[in-house]
């Protein structure tokens, strides 16, 4: 019996468990890409329109979130508009699936039972990687077929598909390593997400600092983009240069990560992480002995991790703010476009309004994660003995809701302050910029907080579906924010996302009505969720 015995059986088990989840991801992402490609070809029918697109898309804020402008053909526009956000989702699909079939099985004790059967030591990890690689291969084929059917060139269509699939495989490798390092699936997912965040940030900086290519409308990304697997996807330039060798980079990195993961499995026991457990206190500190204290204890790690991420992102985007002025000097057409938006703000205000609006959606990732902790406590069974003490259900919920709300506000203030600090250093006005941008970031808080209400509501009303619905709602917000305008979706559809309703402060005035309405909606939904939770059975 080799150390891989049983791999095929375990892979079939993994596919059986994921028979709904992975197809939803694959067809969902493929569908978004196809819809965007269709609307791009509808929206940019003339050369002039496509040239105008290239001008507006080549600004630091847009490039930080979308990627470099690769050309004025429909394929390149589709690539710029969709690749980054889809790559992030493909990476999340892959990391979560790998952790689900490796570390989570160890944590719950399933791996012990499986490992006692005729199953080799490397079989579980191999089965997880095969499953996830299969999902990514299916996505690559689907994307290639759909884009080609949309009239894009075969080379470009398959290029996007393969790049997305390989990015997924790379992050499957990242998750495989993370699952060896961390002793918990929560920790492994966190580590993998941090890796994804770093990859996103590196290419955001590189693409944002990109220079206009000589004589053309395309952008040459700066060196940092070449440090990120997501950045490599853009550098494939599937519809213009088609640098197939870039795919080799992705394959090699994936291979290295997987090899590292296998090497690490040899150095640890089943169920253990790489870091040993330390002893804890024999008695509890006073602060822990209340529902709020317990909630803080359980949530503080997430708050800390997200805080670091927000400061880094804020400082980075603040530093990039300088680029916008320089770019406008060199690109009068873009300056004209900015003026046409008809806002009172300066170009830098426009930039920060856009960046902070998009980052508020990212911060909502924390909000959703923090609130879903309640559902995790319930389904893992730790809530049962807790609610058998003299703690009322609303009091328990309010502890977590308070931490999630305060944490969200803190993250936005840190984001704005970070941006204000670095941009303030550049323009020589640190206190002024910190106050102004922290305030601007805070003006976005009603978005995540309204979403928070929806999450509490589904926890109360639909506990069995709460996790999928809550993350699904966030995905819808991200997609509406990223591609909603491009798809020319009708306003009522865009209005589904709470983030649509908030003006891009500091480029626009703070609007009181949407802020108050969103906060009221969040509050009402929260109250509904708490009331529903009070009236329902505990659901394991």
């Amino acid at each position: 019996m080799s150390s891989f015995t049983g791999t095929a059986r375990l892979a079939r088990l993994a596919l059986r468990r994921d028979r709904v989840q992975l197809p939803v991801w694959v067809f969902g992402l493929g569908g978004v890409l196809a819809a965007t490609a269709a609307s791009v070809s509808g929206a940019y029918t003339t050369d002039a329109e496509r040239a105008a697109y290239a001008v507006t898309a080549a600004n630091p804020a847009a490039m930080a979130f979308n990627g470099p402008v690769l050309g004025t053909d429909l394929g390149s526009i589709t690539m710029t508009e969709t690749f980054t956000v889809l790559a992030v989702f493909v990476a999340l699909m892959s990391t979560m699936a790998v952790v689900r079939h490796t570390r989570q099985n160890e944590e719950t004790g399933r791996a012990e039972l499986v490992g006692s059967a005729i199953v080799g030591r490397h079989a579980p990890l191999t089965a997880a990687l095969i499953t996830v690689a299969g999902a990514n291969a299916a996505l690559a084929v689907l994307v290639g077929l759909l884009l080609n059917a949309n009239g894009l060139s075969p080379a470009g269509s398959w290029g996007i598909g393969l790049a997305l699939g390989l990015v997924g495989v790379v992050f499957a490798g990242v998750a495989a390593v993370a699952a060896q390092l961390s002793g918990t699936s929560r920790g492994a997912n966190g580590l993998a997400a941090a890796g994804l965040g770093l990859a996103f940030l590196l290419r955001a900086v590189g693409d944002s600092l990109g220079e206009q290519a000589p004589g053309g409308v395309t952008t040459d990304s700066a060196f940092f983009s070449w440090l990120s697997p997501i950045g490599w996807g853009h550098q494939l330039k599937p519809f213009t240069e088609t640098n197939w060798w870039v795919l080799g980079l992705l394959a090699v990195l994936a291979g290295l990560l997987v090899a590292l993961a296998y090497a690490l499995t040899a150095h640890r026991d089943l169920g253990a992480g790489m870091l040993p457990d330390r002893a804890g206190p024999a008695t509890a500190p006073r602060g822990l002995l209340r529902p709020l204290g317990l909630a803080w204890r359980l949530q503080r790690g997430a708050v800390l991790g997200w805080s670091v991420a927000m400061v880094v992102l804020g400082v980075t985007f603040g530093a990039l703010g300088e680029e916008i002025d320089e770019m406008l000097e060199n690109n009068p057409q873009l300056a004209e476009v900015f003026r046409q938006f008809g806002t009172d703000g300066t170009p830098a205000d426009m930039y920060f309004g856009m960046v902070l609006g998009l980052m508020a959606i990212a911060a909502a990732g924390y909000t959703v994660q923090a609130l879903l902790r309640m559902r995790a406590e319930e389904s893992s069974g730790v809530l049962e003995p807790l609610l058998a003490t003299a703690v009322s259900r609303p009091r328990w919920m309010l502890g977590h809701i308070l931490i999630a709300t305060a944490g969200t506000v803190l993250l936005l203030v840190l984001l704005g302050s970070g941006a204000g600090l670095s941009y303030g250093l550049i323009v020589g006005d640190v206190p002024g910029q910190v106050v102004s941008l922290a305030g601007a970031a805070l003006a976005q808080a009603p978005g995540p907080l309204a979403l928070a209400g929806a999450v509490v509501a589904v926890i109360g009303l639909l506990p069995g579906r709460a996790v999928a619905l809550a993350w699904g709602a966030l995905v819808v917000c991200v997609l509406l924010g990223q591609v909603g305008l491009l798809l020319e979706l009708p306003q009522p559809v865009l209005d589904i996302s709470p983030f649509t309703h908030l003006p891009p402060v500091p480029a626009a005035e703070v609007a009181v009505t949407p802020i108050l309405s969103l906060l009221a909606a969040g509050l009402l939904l929260t109250a509904a969720g708490v009331a529903a939770f009070r009236r329902r059975d505990l659901t394991m």
Binding site: G280, A284, S380, P385, T389
Partner: protein
């Protein structure tokens, strides 16, 4: 005696499954009440309804005179619960978890906590994720017995404990009874039930099939009789209440329902009885009878 727990016609359904089907249960104040039944019979569901964690569909439930759903918080100050499957926060130490449960229940006695930690040989500095099943149960037991409450609800609390710890557990249950506390103890360990419980209730398929002291339950089941006679015994099969007649050389064995001895003894006397032993059902037989497909004798007699 007043009832610490009183349940009448309790119904709880999960979708199409009728988990509790008009269940009646009565636990007297100050007694240790065994709550027994096969896996999946509805023990934990009943306990969760008693704690207000599940909402009943219909029926009357009163715990310490309160409605567990409506008055959950005030009721929970007066009881301590040890779940069958103790899940704890992996990143808290055992000591922190004990203090947390104690504080949320309204405070615990530090001296008693220290004594319990020592007697259960628990290392309170370990993180909960490092504990075995038995050690997680010890955490819940220490937190429960260190609280000054009127009612202990214990759902298979010793399933993961070694025999030494089991005896420590038994001494604390005895102590609680002597102090006038009420204990509802769900258990599969028959020796524990026999040693601790004043009365027991047996649940099967969501209904209580029998309730009473062990002695009373014994009287409801068949006794095994072995009789040695001068001449081979015939005609036993035809007598009411006699089952499983097996004839040996000079020894005949059979089972007999309670209350049927008189006619059988008269019949046997005609064959020259040399020797007769009557064995009441062992605990195992008793429970197999009540748990399994065999209906208890009383039900047969009806």
């Amino acid at each position: 005696m007043t009832a610490a727990i009183s349940v009448t016609k309790l119904v709880k359904t999960f979708g199409p499954t009728r988990a509790l089907d008009e269940l009646d249960l009565s636990v007297r104040t100050g007694e240790v009440h065994g709550f027994l039944g096969p896996n999946g019979a509805g023990k934990s569901t009943t306990i969760r309804v008693l704690l207000g964690l599940l909402r009943r569909d219909s029926g009357e439930v009163s715990v310490l005179g309160a409605d567990p759903w409506r008055d959950a918080v005030s009721l929970h100050r007066r009881l301590a619960y040890v779940p069958g499957d103790v899940n704890l926060w992996p990143n808290l130490s055992g000591g922190e978890a004990i203090d947390l449960f104690g504080a949320l229940r309204g405070g615990l006695d530090p001296g008693r906590r220290a004594e319990l930690v020592e007697r259960f040989e628990l290392d309170p500095t370990k993180k909960c994720r490092a504990y075995s099943k038995g050690n997680r149960q010890k955490v819940a037991l220490v937190a429960a017995f260190a609280s000054d409450v009127e009612l202990y609800v214990l759902d298979e609390p010793t399933a993961g404990l070694d025999p030494l710890m089991d005896s420590v557990f038994r001494s604390y249950v005895q102590e609680a009874r002597e102090a006038g506390r009420t204990v509802l103890l769900s258990s599969h360990i028959l020796g524990e039930v026999e040693a601790l419980c004043d009365r027991i209730s047996i649940i099967r398929e969501g209904r209580i099939v029998e309730s009473g002291t062990l002695g009373e339950l014994r009287h409801l089941t068949r006794t095994t009789v072995s009789v040695r006679t001068e001449r081979p015994v015939t005609g036993l099969d035809g007598l009411p209440g006699v089952h499983d007649v097996r004839n040996g050389d000079d020894t005949t064995r059979f089972e007999i329902e309670p209350g049927r001895f008189d006619a059988v003894l008269r019949h046997l006397a005609g064959f020259g009885v040399l020797d007769l032993t009557s064995t009441p059902p062992s605990l195992e037989e008793l429970f197999l009878r009540f748990y399994g497909g065999d209906a208890p004798a009383e039900a047969e007699a009806k």
